[in-house]
């Protein structure tokens, strides 16, 4: 048998794995990325799903889009960090499901965001956490609203809260 043909299935399997979005794509692969794909694979920029649907895929039905789930698992390792990031991601994702014509619904989603942001600070402002809470919170906000329709919905959500008032939650805000 030709040695090349003998190794063909293995080569094809490796190629298939390299194109699989569910592989450990954010694992650093290159110290000096020269393409967008390499930047994504290195974790230097987020690798996100950009489908036209507002809510996106959430296969495990945990209230967090699957690509945001991947981002969190690739960026945080401590359980408290993951839990706080998940809470923030769920709160941001709730914006996309919110009926903006319902002031009560808008306010309830805002309360989730307020509590989730306070939780991010509770967890990440601890010395030695390795991340600034403002940066963690802002990155999660940015990757959630990563398409035109999602960003527009977020802007409309902001507008719906024009003139609102709320407070920094008292007590622990982590779920």
């Amino acid at each position: 048998m030709n040695k090349g043909l003998f190794f063909l299935p293995l080569v094809l399997a490796l190629v298939a794995c390299s194109n699989d979005e569910s592989s450990d794509a954010d694992t650093p692969t290159d110290d000096n990325p020269t393409t967008v794909q390499e930047l994504e694979n290195s974790g230097a920029i987020p690798k996100l799903a950009r489908g036209s649907d507002l809510e996106g895929a959430d296969v495990d039905n945990n209230g967090i889009r699957d690509d945001v789930d991947d981002y969190i698992s690739n960026h945080f390792s401590e359980s408290s960090h993951i839990s706080a990031a998940n809470q923030a991601a769920r709160a941001n994702q709730a914006v996309l499901n919110t009926d903006l014509l319902s002031p009560t619904a808008v306010r309830q989603t805002n309360q989730k965001i307020s509590r989730a942001t306070a939780c991010i600070y509770e967890v990440f402002e601890v010395p030695g956490s390795g991340s600034e809470p403002a940066e963690v919170s802002r990155d999660l906000e940015a990757i959630t609203f990563n398409t035109a329709s999602r960003l527009k919905k977020y802007m409309e959500f902001n507008k719906a809260l024009d003139g609102a008032s709320w407070s920094l939650p008292e007590g622990s805000s982590c779920e």
């Binding site: 805002n110 035109a148 809260l161 008292e170």
Partner: protein, 442 residues
């Protein structure tokens, strides 16, 4: 019942409640569970131009991180947002798409960059810029458009400043702070100064000067009611200066390329951002802003309020616009009907009753687990006398999260002791496992 009698009773019952609560506290052999942290100081933040909800929350958390939960004398501080949205940027997403994403293949579809490019870039933008030399030009083109739009928006807003009566939720919140005897520190950034000036003017007519202070950060207004800070390279305010008067520059900051990252790691090419510039601990300006706030916090004094209402687990504050007697009614889960003739309920109290004009009337639900009942509290209002055609506003706020809802209604003819409008169903839910209570409005 005559008005003077009701006013006297209001005062007497409030005094009785306060006294009996104190006596009960001494009489109890165990420490009652109290869900509320008594805060004498309100730190009210009025956000700047194009601030997202997320960014407003981050700013509030950063303020608490810097100034803490209590003042040096032990007085607790409560942090609240008075949110305002920036009009005139409805085409932001489309313009970002056309002027940025469509200009370079590697940017296609990356809307996550939108919120960082308005500060001039960011860690993701910087990495992409290593792959395409045209990105700085693309960014500058968009920043120029963005700067022109926000200056246009601010100029329009400054020419026709917002009034607090247009922002009924803010007004009701200020009324609640005043009736609860709070010391109020307003801190405003950018366009938030226009809203804060309006709120300050409204509040200053109602409480002592010593109980109200305002700190201006990068004000988009020539009018100030307290100390201000403005960077020399704040390109937004500098552009406003070209079309009208603005306050004087107080601080010099480095040029964009030499600027250290702020609290969120960003540098802000426009020199206007709150976390990037004005609260940046690596800039002298950041330290100066913090010092201004610390000084104004320290200068606050408790007001000599005629009736000091309690901060409850949740509160209902009723106000109206003019003369007349409007009444607040609360039907508690126990069936108790709390109003001016029965000011003490099973779980709460009507501790402020106004029979003359404007309000407020104020109800609070107890913070003690032993008194607070789970269930539905129906909150309604009635035109008792002389308030036909008035606009009445009712605000529900919780101790934990602040305002939960504000609704207004135009009153019809008097309905005596029967509420004409049930404005809110307030649900108090007890977690059977933790014993904690949660409140939501319907």
């Amino acid at each position: 019942m005559s008005k003077p009698t009701r006013t006297f009773l209001s005062f007497a019952i409030s005094l009785f409640i306060i006294t009996s609560t104190s006596l009960n506290a001494f009489a109890q052999p165990y420490e009652a569970r109290n869900f509320c942290r008594d805060s004498g100081i309100i730190f009210a933040f009025f956000n700047g131009v194009q601030t997202t909800i997320g960014e407003a929350n981050r700013a509030l958390n950063e303020f608490r991180r810097i100034h803490g939960n209590e003042r040096a004398d032990g007085e607790n501080i409560r942090y609240e947002v008075m949110y305002n949205y920036t009009d005139g940027l409805d085409d932001f997403v489309e313009t970002f798409e056309q002027r940025v994403l469509e200009q370079e293949q590697i940017l296609a579809g990356r809307y996550e960059l939108a919120l960082e490019i308005i500060n001039g870039g960011g860690k993701w933008w910087q990495r992409l810029a290593e792959l395409a030399t045209t990105l700085p030009e693309t960014r500058d083109d968009f920043i120029n458009w963005y700067q022109a739009k926000i200056v246009q928006s601010l100029t329009s807003l400054a020419g026709n400043p917002p009034t607090i009566t247009n922002y009924s939720e803010h007004q009701s919140r200020v009324d609640t702070w005043i009736v609860e005897g709070k010391q109020i520190l307003m801190v405003a950034h950018s366009q938030g100064n226009l809203f804060a000036n309006s709120a300050y003017g409204y509040a200053s007519d109602k409480i002592d000067n010593e109980a109200l202070n305002l700190v201006h950060i990068a004000p988009a207004s020539p009018t100030t009611n307290g100390p201000h800070r403005l960077a020399d390279k704040d390109l937004v305010i500098n552009a406003l200066r070209a079309s009208g008067s603005v306050v004087g520059i107080t601080d010099i900051i480095p040029g964009y390329l030499n600027r250290p990252g702020g609290l969120n790691g960003q540098t802000d090419i426009l020199g206007h951002g709150l976390l990037e510039i004005y609260l940046n601990p690596a800039l002298g300006l950041g330290a100066a802003v913090v010092q201004n706030i610390e000084t104004e916090l320290a200068n606050l004094q408790p007001p000599e309020t005629e009736f000091e209402a309690e901060t409850g687990f949740f509160t209902a504050t009723l106000t109206w616009n003019g003369a007349g007697d409007v009444d607040l009614h609360v039907y508690e889960p126990s069936g108790s009907h709390v109003f001016y003739q029965a000011m003490t309920g099973t779980s709460g109290y009507l501790d402020v009753d106004n029979t003359v004009a404007n309000g407020p009337e104020h109800y609070f639900a107890a913070c003690e687990a032993e008194k607070l009942q789970a269930g539905t509290y129906q909150v309604g209002i009635a035109n008792y006398d002389r308030a036909d055609g008035r606009t009445a506003s009712l605000q529900i706020a919780s101790f934990r999260d602040g305002v939960l809802g504000t609704r207004s209604v135009t009153l019809g003819p008097p309905t005596g002791d029967n509420p004409s409008h049930i404005m809110f169903d307030v649900e108090v839910i007890e977690d059977s496992e933790t014993g904690e209570f949660e409140v939501i409005v319907q």
